[in-house]
């Protein structure tokens, strides 16, 4: 009997876990295909005719509400902003971070570890401590509300992430391969470009995808350092939900569109997730 009780308990544990962690996501997807009337019913409807009106409205930027005039939403711009900020941040991070990661992995140099840890410590400093003064600075030098400034500040989270993950990958490559290639008369840059980078490519790819996810999910930087013109979906969606009279289906739809990119990317980097999330501290 003992085994039976265990398996029943286990079964309920599985159900509870699935309900708590996955049901909210499923329900938001569900809501995004509903009309406002269907959502507002006291007893949730399970069977309904899915409508794509919300998605269409979100894309076109206007939605007709019965009894009201046409309503304008600007969510598309938030999506574009998110894309610009995330792609921009990851590109800058790759450019700055990969050579630095290589240096930390390959050379023992004075202050090297200190520099690496200083860079890491930025990730654990309270964001507002740095953003509040930056906010005043940026206003003064006219950088407030610019993609450039935001992408710069995003380096605070993406750079340490990439640095510490990619460093581990470079450390795994034997330096002898590079030496051999250089003995053949190739320059350092050639060996770096043709040997080291291709060998560390899976790590670099996974790290940049994770950086993309972190950049996409960031909220506080753009909330403080940008106006609605350059704010990403995370901030845009909050403005969306606090504005009155926007149909709930449209809000749900906005949320779905905002989380979909990161959810899909997450499936691609499964294998590297553990190492990435722990900044290389744990090898998955």
């Amino acid at each position: 009997m003992k085994i039976n009780i265990w398996s029943i308990l286990k079964f309920f544990a599985y159900i509870a876990i699935i309900m708590f962690f996955l049901f909210p996501i499923a329900w938001i997807f569900n809501m995004s295909f509903m009309t406002n009337d269907e959502i507002l019913r006291k007893v949730p409807v399970l069977f309904y005719e899915p409508t794509f009106k919300n998605y269409l409205g979100l894309w076109q930027g206007e939605i007709a509400i019965e009894g009201f005039a046409t309503m304008y939403v600007y969510f598309k711009q938030n999506l574009i902003n998110s894309a610009i900020l995330s792609v921009g941040s990851v590109s800058v991070t790759l450019l700055l971070g990969v050579p630095a990661a290589y240096a930390f992995a390959r050379y023992k140099f004075k202050g090297g570890e200190d520099i690496a840890f200083t860079l890491l410590s930025f990730r654990f400093a309270p964001a507002l401590l740095i953003i509040l003064p930056l906010n005043l600075y940026f206003s003064e030098i006219g950088l407030y509300d610019s993609y450039f400034a935001l992408i710069w500040v995003y380096q605070l989270i993406t750079l340490p992430l990439l640095l510490w993950i990619v460093r581990g990958y470079f450390e795994d490559i034997s330096p002898d391969i590079e030496y051999a290639y250089r003995l053949d008369g190739h320059s350092w840059f050639q060996s770096f470009w043709r040997i080291s980078i291709p060998l560390a490519k899976p790590g670099i790819a996974a790290a940049s995808l994770l950086c993309f996810i972190y950049a996409w999910n960031n909220f506080v930087f753009a909330l403080i350092l940008g106006s609605s013109a350059i704010q990403p979906v995370t901030v845009g969606a909050l403005a969306f939900i606090t504005a009155s009279a926007i149909p709930y289906g449209l809000i749900a739809c906005g949320i779905v569109v905002s989380v979909l990119p990161t959810l899909i990317l997450a499936l691609f980097i499964q294998k590297y997730l553990v190492q990435g999330l722990s900044l290389g501290a744990i090898k998955g």
């Binding site: 286990k10 599985y14 876990i17 699935i18 996955l22 909210p24 996501i25 938001i28 809501m31 959502i39 019913r41 006291k42 450019l95 700055l96 050579p99 630095a100 240096a103 390959r106 140099f109 090297g112 520099i115 410590s121 930025f122 654990f124 400093a125 309270p126 964001a127 507002l128 401590l129 740095i130 953003i131 509040l132 003064p133 930056l134 005043l136 600075y137 750079l159 320059s187 996409w216 999910n217 909220f219 506080v220 995370t234 909050l238 939900i241 709930y248 749900a252 949320i255 989380v259 990161t262 959810l263 990317l265 997450a266 499964q270 997730l273 999330l277 722990s278 290389g280 744990i282 090898k283």
Partner: protein, 296 residues
Amino acid sequence: MKINRKLFPYVLTLPALLVCVGILIPFFTAVYYSLQRYNLKMPHMKGFIWFDNYVNIFTDPSFWNTIRVSLTYTFFTIIIELLLGLGIALLLAKRTWLNNVLGVLLVLPLMIAPALASLIWRLLINPNFGVVNYVLSFIGLDGFTWASHPDTVLFTLIMVDVWVFTPFIMILLLAGLRSLPRQPFEAAELDGVPEYYKFFRITLPMLFPFILTASLFRLLESIQQFDIIYALSQGGPGESSMVFQVSAYLQTFQYTNIGKAAAMMVVLWAICYFLCHVFVKQWHKLKIKTKGELLQ
């Protein structure tokens, strides 16, 4: 390469460093602000007042409230996430088809922006149509107040935090569990050691480095949590969910009191630095203990 060999690594790290020096400057500015009377609405009053801002916040009951709320939030999120994460990791440890699929799917909440996670839950617990309320009404919890009442708002916030970040603990511990050597378990099996003994004397100690790493990351994030709380309750109702960063945010943008906000953030930074220091020490000890096998 014409560049001096000794200088070369510095050249490679220089661009990354420069970007971050740009970050260090505001850090010191913030510390400097914290020693000033600096209110944007009263620029002529600006001046050096040494530690008056610190004295002020520490004699202010609402700052003690902030500390209390922050620590409560941190304590409960970490404890619940650790227990739940460990439980799920143990449940999924065996490599079966179902466990592998669930291991992938359960990471999804972690990949959602915390601010958006708050919005998802806001739609789910909406007093008018929230589906969670509907489900709860079957077990007599009709009209649970969630974020709209001071007594339940922290519970709601902790629940969202648990929803987002338990997968973080789960995935790290699952990786840990699956990488443990088999021999000790086989030996225990041969000796007929009872299950609970195996768990407390073999599994847990071997898993400890993973638990420590996961807790460190969570601890530092949890005490600084802003996104979830700002998107769900903005510190309210009243000051019942006022944590450090939300408090500093309001102090800056509602009361324009830069000096006070900076002082609060410096206090938070000091707490984080202290926690980090304690943990890194433990981490190094463990690294030596495991001879760099588990932790790199």
